[in-house]
């Protein structure tokens, strides 16, 4: 049996003595669509930051496809095939949409630190970038500076940058935060399309989106996973009801 796409083994993280992540265990199978839900401040974004090397873990281990990636640098984690998006849009604002996407492809297409290739003269690279922009529905904005795109467009570009490298494991952090209903629909459709055949982990507050996208849900409360299961199992879980979902579901 193939190893789990992503596995966290008793991961802990303290900030100046306060334990924010208190023994996180998570296992995401190959090609699974896994949602992480939980109240604000539960440690969802912190968990992402630990997985992707933005923060160092205090203890515990993280594995990607069976290979340990604990405390690697963000670029090393990315090179091993894990890519993430951010809750707060994190793009290259002074570069065009096209340049944003093309830069995100460079390492994955093995250009590395080359200074003997002209990026403009690499047909495959440019075609790939164009293809992704088309998938993102941003073709008309191709040459616009990313910083002046609308919010929804920036969120789409954020996802584009995340998936561009062809990583097998994709972590999305609240992809629909702050979006209108129609924008949410567009982004969810986009996520479905571009993560086809990949392992997806998504942190999301919109329960509609979560139950729509995910095969499996983990509930994170105060730095611990209190339940993991299929959407139906989680919905019916008493502890989850009490800690989080009851209140959250009423909103929708």
């Amino acid at each position: 049996m193939a190893a789990e796409a992503l596995k966290l083994d008793n991961v802990k993280k303290s900030f100046s003595g306060t334990e924010i992540i208190r023994g996180l265990n998570l296992s995401v199978g190959q090609n699974e669509r896994h949602a992480i839900i939980g109240p604000n401040g539960a440690g969802k974004s912190t968990a992402y930051n630990l997985i992707t090397g933005r923060y160092e873990v205090s203890s515990g281990q993280i594995f990607l496809n069976g290979q340990e990636i604990t405390n690697l640098q963000p670029y090393e984690v990315k090179r091993k095939g894990l890519s993430r998006s951010f809750q707060i849009t994190n793009i290259f604002p002074k570069m065009s949409v096209f340049e944003n996407v093309r830069c995100s492809l460079l390492w994955a297409m093995d250009y590395k630190y080359s200074f003997w290739h002209m990026v403009g003269k690499q047909p495959e690279l440019n075609e790939n970038a164009e293809k992704i922009i088309e998938e993102l529905n941003l073709k008309e904005r191709r040459d616009t500076l990313a910083g002046v795109l609308s919010y929804a467009e920036q969120r789409a570009l954020e996802i584009g940058i995340t998936i561009a490298g062809g990583s097998e494991v994709i972590l999305l952090d609240e992809p629909t935060a702050g979006m209108s209903v129609s924008e949410t629909e567009y982004i969810v459709g986009l996520i479905r399309k571009v993560t086809e055949g990949k392992t997806l982990v998504v942190v999301e507050h919109d329960m509609g989106v979560v139950f729509d996208l995910a095969d499996k849900i983990s509930v994170l409360v105060y730095g611990e996973i209190i339940a993991t299961g299929t959407p139906i199992e989680v919905k019916e879980n008493q502890a989850v009801q009490e800690a989080y979902l009851g209140a959250a579901m009423e909103d929708h």
Partner: protein, 421 residues
Amino acid sequence: MANGTNNTMSMSSVLPWIIAAIALVILPFVFTGGGSITIMNQIGITIVLAMSYNMLLGQGGMLSFGHAVYMGLGGFVAVHVMNIVEYQEIWLPLPFLPLVGGLVGLGFATIIGSFSTRKAGTVFAMISLGIGELIAACCIIITVFFGGEEGISGDRTMAPPTFGIEFISQKEVYFLIAFWVLVSTFLMYLFTQTPVGKMANAVRDNPERAEFVGYSMRWVRFVSFCAAGFFAGVAGGLFAINFEILTELNLNLNASFTVLLATYIGGVGFFLGPIVGAILFTLLQTVIGLKTDLWALYTGVVFILTVMFLPAGITGFFAMHLVPWHLGRFGMLLKPYAKIFLPALMFVIGAVGLTELVNHSRHHGDEVLMSLFWVEFNTKSAVPYIVLVLLTAVGFWFSRLFAREVKEAWGDATFVEGQGR
């Protein structure tokens, strides 16, 4: 299709370089006046240096206060090599000397960059400042290599002749410099088109995100830093050839600030920015420097005004006019521009005149006659003061008045439906 676009692309991308090459060949025959070749040589050297500096500041987002170090070290070694060549211990035609400078710049940039590029921002800036001060201090202390305050001098004409050229005249040196300016500029342009050059922009914009697409921000910065060091060294080699002397003044903090100023005034966001800056700055330094000893003051004022009102530099000022131009509304700007021109000119003449007049009476008080803007007058009389104060005041008042119109016209000329400010 791909083939067709590629061909047209390569033609349109080669054309500017051909034009630049032709311009470089023609220039010394156009500007034949006394000293113009000397000034152009200086401009050429400054162009290479400012462009290399912009690899850091504009393209990589690294604010260096010590870039002249790499030019200076490259230049010092180049002069030493020039002297070794003179005694025929090695054979090296003069046109290759900038390459020596470049390699020295590259070498030092590799050593210093290995720790200074770890962080960008303030840390990088402070390290560059420290290194700049350190090397300048070494310059005075290690007299064996740097020659103390007199510096090190050489004789370029003693190198083996290149196709019979011994580089005795300034014009011969001009063509050597022009060749290196073209080659360096072309290579630096190519660098911006490489994966690492593109990622330098990405790291400048958002270093963290760059790491999440697979690039180590530190390594990207390091590669840019080394490349910038190389071309600064080339500029140093050219400097050695042109002036045949290097002193501490060429690599101290003052020299580094000069590069910063020239590059910034030209416009850091544009590839051509440093070229514009180098030309303008050198002219300011040489042409205006001959007319007044206050040139550094004017340079400072121009720099502050650029930072405050034209953060994209002179090149940015012209580039932003492309928007109304493409919208076909450029004409809307002509009238307000024409209107503000005269009062602005009056203000500049008045303010500069007053400054010069005060400076004159403070430092050359015994000379009664003074010539300013081709007008000679008696400095002991009140008339020039009154005239200049009036010019300044009236110019200022009308400039402010018309500035509003310019602003409004600009708003109208660049307004695009549905696009926020």
